[in-house]
């Protein structure tokens, strides 16, 4: 199944967004094994690029549980069966073509998958890549003793058969359309190295990974940086740089300073902070662009709290948020306001949702009409429930803290009391989050995996952790119509039909406001002038998803 012909269906707004984001890079189409622009890239890999990161990559086995910042290394050292390009189109990588119901790669009922693989890929130690490695990878993920990352989707795979070294097939327990997207983030690991390990969790491989990717493992100085070297035998077009270095700089101000001074060539996660955007744009010899990501920021509510059960309260709260001041004032205009969880660059984005309007009077009227009258202490109350709640976010995040304090003041004008109670990240996202112990949270997260619109994990009523469910629907949102649509969407392979389904879901969610959407995240990506081939991709979690295409021009 491909998502071709998407460009024509994009709205003008999202097309503009893409242009802003990737004007420079889109020219170079040296991606994913396609021919490069003639004469632009050097014949032999030369030069070095230093990527600055605010968190340290520590997990180098791509199948083990890891966080976003580890992705940069995985994308460089390993390959997956498929890749996803900036337009959201799935491209073949280790596979020869993308299977769908038209070319027979996926059967009509969606259950039988057959994938043909490249025959010219090799592991960094010289051994050839084959379907055995794919089978090994998929089985390792489901190994109960292995600390694997995501098992959703992989858990449905049965009867993996190696038809030949270049062909593999399996059967799915149930039709699951998002699996193709999942496979773009499932990197293949070598069977001949890992099968010898008694305990794959502690294998030496995890400290010196061997993949098929454009870069080989070089060396690592823990706590400081790690270095990858070019794989000159790579089957694709590239790499064009000899050394790729990931440098760890935990302080964001220092990261930006090193970008200014040239010690860092490319600013990776968590990118340049919005308050430096203005200055960064005007730096000589630097290219600074805004890149839309799939994550968005929201004022997330716990719907089981008595204050939030009424739709009127949620609507009033939403109308009391001065989004414009927050985005323009506190965030320097960097993010884009949004009404939904779907990123605007997505094929499934619903552009026709009702627009937010900041109107304190209207908010007050909604509350008055719903019976929330100010009490003796000035705080509105109804049936003994005071409109007072706590709001939490990760402590140490100055911008979010500013947003909190700003909102606290605005809400106070309406007779709504918001208390601020922040926690360190390791505490915040544990049980407090997963078991819905919060009142409200300001959180930025992505609902999508790759570019697949399936958001069952976040919005389905059986995904409520606090009620024994298996997902991250921490708002405890339960809407039977949305549930049914989600179930249907996961089983549908045709993109046009899926589009209708997910747009309807967005409408319902916007109406019910289980969370108050604030804005979609745009990150400020900075590179040194002279690096070509850097293409932003909002569908991946890392800025280094195509390091094989980078090179120093001239």
């Amino acid at each position: 199944m491909t998502e071709a012909q998407t460009a024509s269906v994009y709205s003008r707004r999202s097309a503009l967004q893409l242009m802003i984001a990737g004007a420079a890079g889109l020219a170079g189409s040296n991606l994913l094994g396609q021919p490069a622009l003639a004469g632009a890239a050097p014949a032999k890999p030369t030069g070095r690029v230093i990527v600055g990161l605010g968190q340290e990559p520590t997990v180098f086995n791509p199948l083990m549980a890891h966080i976003e910042v580890d992705d940069g290394v995985h994308f460089s050292v390993f390959d997956a069966l498929f890749r996803i390009d900036p337009q959201g189109v799935i491209q073949p990588n280790l596979a020869v073509e993308v299977p769908n119901q038209k070319n027979g790669g996926i059967s009509e009922d969606g259950l039988k998958w057959r994938i043909r693989l490249r025959d010219d890929a090799h592991w960094h130690d010289g051994k050839p890549f084959s379907a055995e490695d794919v089978k090994f990878t998929l089985e390792l993920i489901m190994n109960p003793n292995f600390r694997s990352w995501r098992t959703a989707g992989h858990a449905l795979v049965r009867d993996i058969t190696v038809v030949s070294p270049t062909e593999i097939s399996w059967r799915m327990e149930e039709a699951f359309a998002p699996y193709l997207s999942f496979l773009t983030e499932t990197f293949i690991v070598p069977k001949h190295i890992l099968e010898k390990e008694a305990n794959p969790n502690n294998a030496a491989f995890n400290q010196a990974p061997v993949g098929t990717g454009p870069f080989k493992w070089g060396q690592r100085v823990a706590g400081d940086h790690l270095e990858l070297v070019a794989n000159t035998e790579y089957f694709g077009e590239g790499p064009h740089i000899e050394r790729l270095v990931f440098k760890y700089i935990p302080d964001l101000t220092v990261l930006y300073t090193q970008f200014k001074s040239g010690d860092v060539d490319l600013v990776g996660q968590p990118y340049i902070t919005p308050d430096h955007y203005g200055e960064a744009k005007s730096l000589p010899n630097r290219v600074v662009t805004l890149v839309p990501k799939t994550s968005f920021e929201s004022f997330y509510l716990n719907l089981e709290r008595p204050q939030f059960k009424e739709l009127a309260v949620r609507e009033a709260l939403y109308a009391a948020i001065d989004k414009d001041s927050i985005i323009q004032g506190l965030y320097y205009g960097v993010p884009t306001p949004t009404e939904t969880f779907m990123p605007r660059q997505s094929f499934y984005f619903n552009a026709n949702l009702p627009m937010h309007e900041f109107n304190l009077n209207r908010a007050g009227q909604i509350l008055d009409k719903a019976g929330w009258a100010p009490g003796a202490d000035g705080i509105r109350a109804k049936n003994g429930v005071r409109l007072s709640f706590a709001n939490s976010t990760t402590s140490g995040d100055p911008l979010r803290e500013q947003v909190q304090q700003f909102l606290q003041q605005t809400f106070a004008q309406l007779g709504i009391e918001m208390k601020i109670s922040n926690l360190p990240a390791a505490v915040m996202w544990g049980e407090f989050w997963m078991q819905s112990q919060f009142d409200s949270v300001i959180v930025g997260s992505s609902y999508l995996i790759g570019a697949d619109p399936d958001v069952t994990n976040r919005l389905h009523s059986r995904s409520i952790g606090a009620k024994g469910g298996r997902g991250s629907n921490n708002a405890q949102y339960a809407n039977p119509e949305v549930d049914a649509l989600l179930d249907k969407g996961a089983r549908t392979f045709d993109s046009e039909s899926r589009r209708a389904i997910y747009q309807r879901i967005q409408e319902l969610v916007r109406r019910d406001l289980p969370f108050l959407p604030l804005y979609q995240v745009n990150v400020v990506q900075g590179t040194k002038k002279g690096i070509s081939g850097v293409v932003p991709n909002g569908n991946t979690r890392t800025e280094s998803w195509n390091a094989l295409a980078w090179y120093w021009a001239s």
Partner: protein, 292 residues
């Protein structure tokens, strides 16, 4: 009984000799003056300033010092920095002072007991002190702050619990050597009770280091609160403290350095004053100078 001690230590140390020595110590006087001014400013100042410390005004963000009526400028949310600084001063000073009281009390009790009793009691106590000293205080703070949800009172307790060891160590060492002095031997021979000896004979002689340690403890407590809040685990916004003001200022160092300079300077002034006072006290209470 206290006659023997009288020759070696002025038992009524608040009398003229020490005080006159203190007043000759110019730095200590300067310290007292600075702290008095600071406390006055923090208590009275917020009422005298034109702006409220909590009022957010996004149109007036990052105003440099001396813009209009914002004498110290404004912070990233447009709040008047002077007002916030003085409100924060109340919190930081109060936390610092209370933490000192608590930690000095605990530390002195432990130190005197351990130093005098010796033996396995002393050893057990000092091993406990060592145990707590081997904890990076930041660890205890972090873990406790996460479990207990930080409030100014909780922060005070946490700081005190991680600072009493220094005092205990100093006191224990002092008491341990004092224990061998003649006047103590004499008191024991005469049959005075252990508690009497500990707290009526030895402690007054050890007061010097204790008081010095106390003034240092305030200084350290203020610094610790600053560091904890700077890391984000201490006083939570919107309640201001000098430490959490620095937290927000770090990333604006290049564009709005006054946000970092001013709270840092305030901390330095407060802590310096306590250090000056401590040094003055140390000189004023210098016991052995008395009988040359």
């Amino acid at each position: 009984m206290t006659l023997i001690a009288a020759n070696l230590a002025p038992s009524r140390w608040w009398q003229s000799r020490a005080v006159s020595r203190f007043t000759r110590h110019h730095l200590a006087l300067a310290g007292i003056a600075m702290i008095t001014l600071l406390v006055l400013a923090c208590v009275v100042g917020p009422y005298a300033l034109p702006y409220d410390s909590l009022h957010i005004d996004l149109r007036a963000r990052f105003a440099p010092p001396l813009s209009g009526q914002h004498y110290f400028g404004t912070d990233p949310l447009g709040r008047d920095l002077a007002a916030r600084l003085l409100m924060a001063g109340r919190v930081s000073l109060l936390v610092g002072f209370s933490a000192m009281l608590l930690s000095t009390l605990i530390g002195t009790l432990v130190g005197v007991t351990a130093g005098y009793r010796g033996g396995w009691v002393g050893a057990a106590l000092m091993r406990t002190v060592d145990g707590f000293l081997s904890y990076p205080s930041i660890f205890l703070v972090l873990a406790l702050a996460a479990v207990l949800r930080p409030s100014p009172a909780m922060i005070t307790v946490i700081i005190a619990f991680t600072s009493w060891m220094e005092t205990a160590r100093i006191v224990e060492a002092e008491v341990r050597s004092l224990r061998e002095r003649e006047f103590v031997q004499a008191a024991r021979m005469v049959g005075l009770s252990r508690r009497h000896i500990m707290f009526r004979e030895i402690l007054p002689n050890a007061m010097g280091p204790i008081i010095v340690a106390a003034s240092l403890a305030v200084a350290r407590a203020i610094l610790l609160e600053a560091y904890i809040s700077f890391l984000g685990y201490g006083i939570q916004p919107p309640l201001p403290s000098w430490g959490n003001m620095l937290n927000g200022a770090q990333q604006y160092l290049a564009s709005a350095p006054w946000l970092a300079i001013i709270p840092g300077a305030a901390i330095t002034i407060a802590v310096t004053s306590f250090n000056f006072i401590g040094d003055g006290l140390r000189d004023a209470l210098d016991v052995r100078d008395d009988h040359i």
